[in-house]
């Protein structure tokens, strides 16, 4: 094979060398040269039905594997449609590389057909972005993009490539070295700080581990487990960190924050040492920041120095990769154990008694009714089938919170949820990405009736690819979380939250040539889920749940996290409308 090739082929060559096996994309005018090369290229292309979902699918792939996901779109509207997915990855630190076509160099700035300033538009939506106008820069750029996306604090990188670069010819030699002089990532963690942190951990009477998405990004779940077990500390995992410590682990309390469990939030509020690992003190976790963990000293480990001290001052900051830092920390903890562990043993036993007491006082327990399927009942059933092992993608809203509360994850990279940005429409395309990565794993896509319709076009992708995703629609007929806030804080003046004209899912599924079922009786729920599991290929299960059910516990906006509302303040009124 001659080494002179066009830009499109160089691009795919570089992707292949980065280990890419699948691209989620949508073709268009300026990406024609690329799709021409893809025609008989071994890298698979999954045709999504909307570019936003290309990003979400790449994100689902990346979340489920830890590898860089790849999304592809054409110029103009293709590129602008990617932006929600890019920001989503930015907020959740998910490594993806987005490829966009751009009009030919000569036409840039002329308001050409399907021209948009993708480079400018995506500046704040990406960790880094590129506009390639010179074919000689293409190969370096691709390898730089993968390096930036996957190293340090992971994130999305976009490469905008002009059509003349894609179709231009040049002699290609593989790149063996890239130069990013300004891109400095501290991974090791300061040895002295790690030792001091370990000392603080043994000195604490009420230590509490607050673990987040950084543990999963770093692949530090084993190290986290060793730390938690060595220290025997109660541990909460954030929405992004579910699965960082197995949900069945005795030290795992629950998720903290706005819809966290009573024990999780009380523990945060009463601990004297908060061991914050790969977290960013998000407002949905901290509630009113001034009252957050008021008695605690804070050890904060993060790979992004800008996260340390951003929201909460750290008494002991450590910048580094969680895997490296925690593995050293465990070593020092064990070294200090004989000498230091005994000091506060009695206080620590009392601390555990208190945490267990909170758990017993207000446990997270599913609600059942003989007449209606309760949303919590649904999540309980999914949890029973999953048994801590299935991949679960969600959308955003009430169902997401109930899923987080009731579905257990015994491994990392099973729980795929849009955390920081809270993008509805994420669940279905994310499930596409995850199932492409893990064809043999059970993938549940748990969505609301609102978010399902936002991502509706991707049912075609499921059918088209024959992906056996089990789509479970928690259908309460409302945009439930918005309604919950209208209920609680806007005198139940329900405005624009009722979703009428939801399609008949059995007919809809049939229209796509796949199986679907509606279930509304609690007695039939387990059987319906069983049918979904036993049916080969995709399945749409529309579960009609109690319309007026709200998520508790709830920390109202602006409250401290120990000021939880544990149950509905009054019977939730059914509005006359």
């Amino acid at each position: 094979m001659s080494n002179t090739m066009n830009g499109a082929r160089i691009l795919l060559e570089c992707l292949g060398r980065e280990g890419v096996d699948v691209i989620f994309g949508y073709p268009g005018g300026v990406t024609l040269p690329l799709y021409d090369v893809m025609y008989d290229h071994p890298i698979r292309h999954v045709l999504v039905r909307h570019e936003e979902n290309a990003c979400f699918a790449a994100s689902g792939y990346a979340r489920a594997t830890g590898k860089v996901g790849v999304a592809c779109a054409t110029s103009g509207p293709g590129a602008t449609n990617l932006t929600t997915g890019l920001v989503d990855c930015m907020m959740d630190s998910i490594p993806i590389v987005a490829l966009t076509g751009q009009v030919s160099s000569k036409l840039i700035g002329s308001d050409a057909f399907q021209e948009a300033d993708t480079f400018g538009i995506t500046r704040s939506a990406t960790k880094h972005n590129y506009l390639v106008r010179d074919i000689k820069e293409l190969a370096d750029t691709v390898h730089e993009a993968f390096h930036i996306a996957s190293s340090g604090r992971p994130g999305p990188v976009l490469i905008d490539i002009t059509k003349d670069v894609l179709q231009g010819q040049v002699h290609y030699t593989p790149i063996h070295e890239i130069h990013l002089p300004g891109y400095k990532v501290v991974t090791d963690g300061h040895a002295g700080q790690i030792r001091r942190a370990a000392q603080m951990m043994w000195e604490a009477r009420r230590p509490y581990v607050y673990a987040g998405g950084g543990i999963i990004a770093a692949g530090a779940h084993q190290e986290l487990r060793e730390l938690v077990e060595t220290l025997d500390a109660p541990t909460v995992c954030t929405l992004m960190g579910l699965g960082a410590l197995p949900g069945s682990h005795p030290n795992f309390i629950s998720m903290p924050g706005m819809h966290g469990s009573y024990a999780s939030n009380m523990g945060m509020s009463d601990c004297d040492l908060l061991i914050a690992l790969g977290v960013r003190f998000d407002d949905r976790v901290t509630g009113r920041l001034a009252s957050f963990a008021p008695h605690a000293k804070v050890v904060h480990v993060d790979i992004d120095p800008a996260e340390i001290g951003k929201n909460r001052t750290a008494d002991l900051p450590i910048v580094g990769d969680a895997k490296k830092v925690l593995s050293k920390m465990v070593r020092v903890l064990r070294e200090l154990e004989p000498e230091m562990a005994g000091a506060h043993a009695e206080d620590r036993r009392a601390w555990w008694r208190q945490v267990r007491g909170w758990q017993e006082e207000h446990p997270l327990e599913p609600v059942f009714s003989p007449d209606e399927i309760k949303p919590q009942h649904l999540m309980h059933e999914i949890n029973r089938i999953s048994d801590g092992k299935a991949i679960v993608s969600t959308d955003v809203g009430q169902h997401q919170m109930w899923a987080a509360q009731f579905i257990r994850f015994d491994e990392p990279r099973l729980w795929l949820s849009s955390g920081g940005l809270g993008s509805m429409g994420f669940g279905l395309p994310a499930a596409v990405g995850a199932q492409m990565a893990h064809p043999d794993k059970t993938v549940f896509c748990v969505v609301g009736d609102g978010g399902f319709q936002m991502a509706l076009p991707e049912v075609a992708t499921l059918a088209n690819q024959g992906l056996p995703v089990k789509v479970i629609i928690m259908n309460n007929g409302y945009l439930g979380m918005v309604r919950q806030w209208q209920d609680l804080f806007y005198q139940s003046r329900l405005s624009a939250v009722q979703i009428e004209a939801f399609p008949n899912i059995e007919l809809l599924a049939a229209a796509y040539g796949i199986r679907g079922r509606i279930v509304d009786k609690p007695s039939e729920l387990a059987g319906a889920l069983k049918e979904a599991m036993e049916t080969p290929g995709p399945f749409l299960l529309d579960v009609h749940v109690t319309p007026f059910e709200n998520v508790y516990p709830m920390v109202p906006a602006g409250a401290a996290i120990n000021e939880m509302v544990l149950a509905p303040p009054k019977p939730v009124p059914v509005p006359a409308k």
Binding site: G16, L131, I148, G182, P305
Partner: protein
């Protein structure tokens, strides 16, 4: 408070956009910004003055160090550094006050860069406070027009520039054609 940042950055397309975009994204108000190439034409030096809460200064520097193309962002607010700004000022002068204006300009170390029957164009450099006084004084003589350069700064400490080494790419085999 006003914070002065010196920023060394790769001179690549969009460099200025990245910096100004980041500042506005994080809610930091830009008071002034200057940018030019350094001796090494592949690099740019920016001097940025932002109005931020004093407690935020460390966070601002961390944020400014984040873009991939930024080699170094330094807080010069309390550091040993020389900070200078230039002002170009046009003042209308009457036959009666021409001498007084020139006298005043001399006190501030300003140079006359243009002189006409209408008045003078003056050039002055200094720190912001001095220039503000200069402008205030010139205003008393009548109508003026002012253009300020924004702050430029040079650190008086040799701060070691730490650069990331080249990254080897360990490649898998290229994908095999079907």
């Amino acid at each position: 408070m006003l914070m002065t940042i010196s920023l060394l950055m790769e001179n690549k397309p969009g460099a200025l956009m990245r910096v100004t975009g980041l500042l506005s994204q994080r809610g930091y108000n830009i008071e002034s910004l200057t940018v030019a190439r350094t001796l090494d034409p592949t690099l740019s030096r920016m001097t940025i003055t932002v109005d931020v809460d004093a407690k935020q200064r460390a966070q601002v520097i961390k944020q400014m160090n984040k873009p991939v193309n930024v080699l170094q962002a330094t807080d010069l607010t309390d550091a040993p550094a020389v900070l200078r700004e230039m002002v170009l000022l046009r003042v209308r002068a009457t036959m009666e006050n021409r001498t007084a204006i020139l006298k005043e300009a001399e006190i501030f170390g300003a140079r006359v860069v243009d002189s006409s029957v209408e008045g003078f164009a003056l050039e002055a450099t200094g720190d912001s406070e001095k220039l503000e006084e200069f402008i205030a004084v010139m205003e008393t003589y009548g109508e003026i027009e002012v253009t300020r350069s924004g702050m430029v700064a040079v650190s008086l400490e040799a701060k070691k520039l730490r650069l990331a080494p080249p990254i080897p790419k360990a490649h898998g085999e290229p994908a095999v054609p079907r």
